[in-house]
């Protein structure tokens, strides 16, 4: 018995809704096996995870704070992938943006009112510029964007390490991290006694703006047209290369804004541990959101919730905190499979030969 995948003419609504839910359930079932291995109760562990993510005002805020950079990197990837610019480089672009923000935020000569806007602009520009490199390589030299953007992440990471361990080292702390930004360059706190900062709000607003850009503007239309069929886009007179280039700038800029938020809202400096792979997680989030820019918000909150909740779960039930990584990875795999079956159906075939073309 052989099976083939056959494209669906149209997807019934119930499948569109039930398959992602099924994927989530499958993830939880798979991971409950791991919880049992750890000798804990499945329901207790998941309960603790949920409570840790949403159980109190403090926990919920922590989840939102963690979701903010993921919204930005998720948007960055979603926009890029829409144009089939395979940007795996959000991590490096995030670091570029963070460094620009940390540099601007520590300048004493700048008037106070200009600090935050300048940091945001600098972060966007730095991330965008760093993304133009693989874009130019792709468009002019036909260099594969997957590998180029991946490689450039490490270039930026080691560049940052070299700087904070050398000329940019904080003379006060003596650790390999950059000098702190000025107090006035910090994002204001939105909710007293929590870490809820302006960047969280900005992440939500940006998601809506990018959604408007993608669905309501000519550029957004061009980006999607180029991604869906570059040849048709060329024939209809779209400047395909310019569109891809602009997409790269926007995508890199958005990733850069993730870095701005981490510097201005949380760490107030850059150091090696600034991003625990937010750029890579952004890819997962964009995929979970099916490249829908508004869908990025719930996907990012889901991921952030698992990361914060896992800490509590680990403390109260003894299940290792790394369950979060497994849940995140497995949910992506199951979701990819689920999404495939919204577009294709399985057709079982009897004893037909393998070599036969249909």
């Amino acid at each position: 018995m052989k099976f083939t995948l056959e494209p669906r003419a149209h997807t019934p609504t119930w499948l569109n809704i039930s398959l992602p839910v099924l994927a989530l359930l499958a993830t939880l079932v798979f991971c409950s096996g791991l919880i049992i291995l750890a000798g804990a109760g499945v329901l207790q562990a998941y309960g603790a995870l949920f409570k840790g993510a949403f159980g109190s005002k403090f926990n919920f805020v922590e989840t939102l704070v963690k979701a903010a950079p993921l919204v930005f990197t998720g948007l960055a990837v979603a926009v890029a992938f829409r144009a089939k610019f395979w940007n795996i480089g959000a991590e490096g672009q995030l670091l570029a943006g963070a460094m620009a923000a940390a540099f601007v935020g520590a300048r004493d000569v700048l008037p106070i009112w200009s600090l935050l806007p300048l940091m945001i602009i600098a972060g966007f520009v730095a991330g965008g510029l760093w993304a133009t490199l693989p874009a130019v390589l792709k468009l002019r030299y036909r260099v594969d964007d997957v590998v180029a953007t991946l490689m450039l992440n490490f270039v930026m990471f080691y560049l940052m390490l070299a700087l904070v361990d050398g000329p940019w080292k904080d003379p006060l702390s003596g650790y390999p991290d950059s000098p702190d930004i000025r107090m006035d360059a910090e994002y204001p706190i939105l909710l007293q006694q929590t870490r809820l900062h302006l960047g969280v709000l900005l992440a939500g607003v940006t998601a809506i703006l990018i959604w408007l850009l993608m669905t309501r503007t000519t550029l957004g239309f061009a980006i999607r047209a180029v991604g869906e069929n570059a040849r048709a886009a060329t024939h209809s007179g779209l400047p395909v290369k310019r569109v891809v280039f602009l997409t790269a700038v926007i995508s890199g800029g958005l990733a850069g804004l993730a870095g701005v938020g981490e510097v201005a809202g949380l760490h107030f400096q850059v150091m090696a541990s600034l991003s625990p792979g937010y750029g890579y997680t952004g890819i997962v989030i964009a995929m979970l959101a099916r490249l829908n820019t508004l869908g990025v918000i719930p996907a990012a909150i889901f991921f952030a919730a698992i990361a914060t909740g896992a800490e509590t779960m680990s403390r109260t039930t003894g299940v290792p905190v790394f369950l979060a990584d497994v849940i995140q990875g497995m949910s992506l795999i199951f979701m990819l499979v689920a999404l495939l079956f919204t577009k294709y159906r399985i057709r079982l075939r009897g004893s037909e030969s393998m070599y036969e073309h249909t």
């Binding site: 036909r142 260099v143 997962v284 497994v326 795999i333 495939l340 249909t358």
Partner: protein, 326 residues
């Protein structure tokens, strides 16, 4: 050793050369290159069949963990290597299911496999060992001097005074070249990576070849990972791989998808790494070591830009193959 006090260039260069022409330098170069060779050849096979396997980093990490556990509890290092390879094969099959059977995007599938594998590696290690203050270790592989050959002056200590795994790694290069270029299997594999439709019409089972390549790559990733936990560090730590899998992706591009050139790329990386360590410890140059760590990635991007026109990746790389869609 005479320290170079002035920064006169000629002086620095002669001192750098002095560091290079030492037996220890060449031995170190080979030592650094060996584990990367396993993973690089593995990645080369899967890319030659048309699948970019970004699961490399995670599979290496998981192989390092399972291999270490097996060796720790059985006392046999070679069993550890076998378990690591088996782990790799399992996740090679998963990668094949996602990218070949289902035809999903290769980079997203690869990253998700890396995510799951890293998560499982850390999770599994915590389950087995908890949070010990002193990481448990195994008695690592010992240096295996080749009798007689190791006594040759200069060449002996450089080439024939290594861990057994190092020899295995370097013997894999001619083996891989033979498999790829001199066997019908290799011809089919290359055709599958260049033009799967032509391969299929010649009666080659495209999906099966891609699965085989992915299983091979998984096994080699696993062994490459276990090299670190069983030969290099004799313990599993969370930073045991720390990006070396991604280095191998770079080495495959630099090696232009050819086993011999991949070996040269790995040796070059080993040379840069060995030189960097020596220059640091002798205090000759004052460049931050991160610049050296950055080097393979910069060189890869530059090489891709220069070579892109004449040495291209396998034509069907990243493109899923569906019989019914032509």
């Amino acid at each position: 050793m005479n320290q170079c006090t002035n920064t006169h260039e000629a002086c620095t260069i002669s001192e750098v050369l002095e560091q290079v022409f030492q037996v220890g330098f060449f031995a170190a170069m080979i030592r650094v290159a060996a584990p990367l060779l396993f993973a690089t050849l593995g990645e080369m096979f899967s890319e030659r069949a048309g699948v970019l396997n970004l699961g490399i980093e995670g599979i290496m990490l998981l192989g390092a963990m399972t291999g270490f556990c097996a060796a720790y509890f059985s006392g046999s290092l070679w069993l550890g290597i076998a378990v690591a390879a088996t782990t790799g094969i399992i996740f090679g099959v998963l990668m094949g299911f996602l990218t070949v059977t289902l035809g999903l995007s290769q980079h997203v599938s690869g990253l998700s496999v890396t995510m799951v594998c890293s998560g499982l590696a850390f999770y599994g290690y915590r389950l087995v060992f908890g949070q010990p203050s002193q990481p448990p270790n195994v008695k690592a592989f010992e240096v295996l001097s080749v009798p007689a050959l190791a006594d040759i002056p200069l060449l002996g200590p450089v080439l024939f005074n290594h861990l057994a795994l190092v020899y295995v790694g370097f013997l894999l290069v001619p083996l891989a070249a033979f498999l790829l270029y001199r066997t019908p299997w290799g011809l089919s594999l290359r055709t599958v990576g260049e033009n799967p439709y032509a391969a299929a019409s010649a009666g080659v089972r495209v999906a099966w070849y891609r699965y085989q390549a992915l299983m091979m790559s998984g096994a080699l990733f696993g062994i490459g990972g276990a090299y670190f936990s069983l030969a290099q560090f004799n313990a599993f730590t969370f930073g045991v791989i720390s990006g070396r899998g991604w280095v191998c992706i770079a080495l495959v591009v630099l090696g232009r998808w050819d086993p011999w050139r991949c070996a040269v790329a790995a040796l070059l990386f080993g040379a840069v790494d060995a030189l960097q360590l020596r220059l640091q410890s002798s205090g000759i140059i004052d460049l931050p070591y991160q610049i050296f760590l950055m080097l393979p990635f910069v060189v890869t991007v530059a090489a891709m830009a220069v070579l892109a026109r004449n040495a291209r990746a396998p034509a069907a790389l990243l493109i899923p193959y569906r019989r019914e869609e032509r």
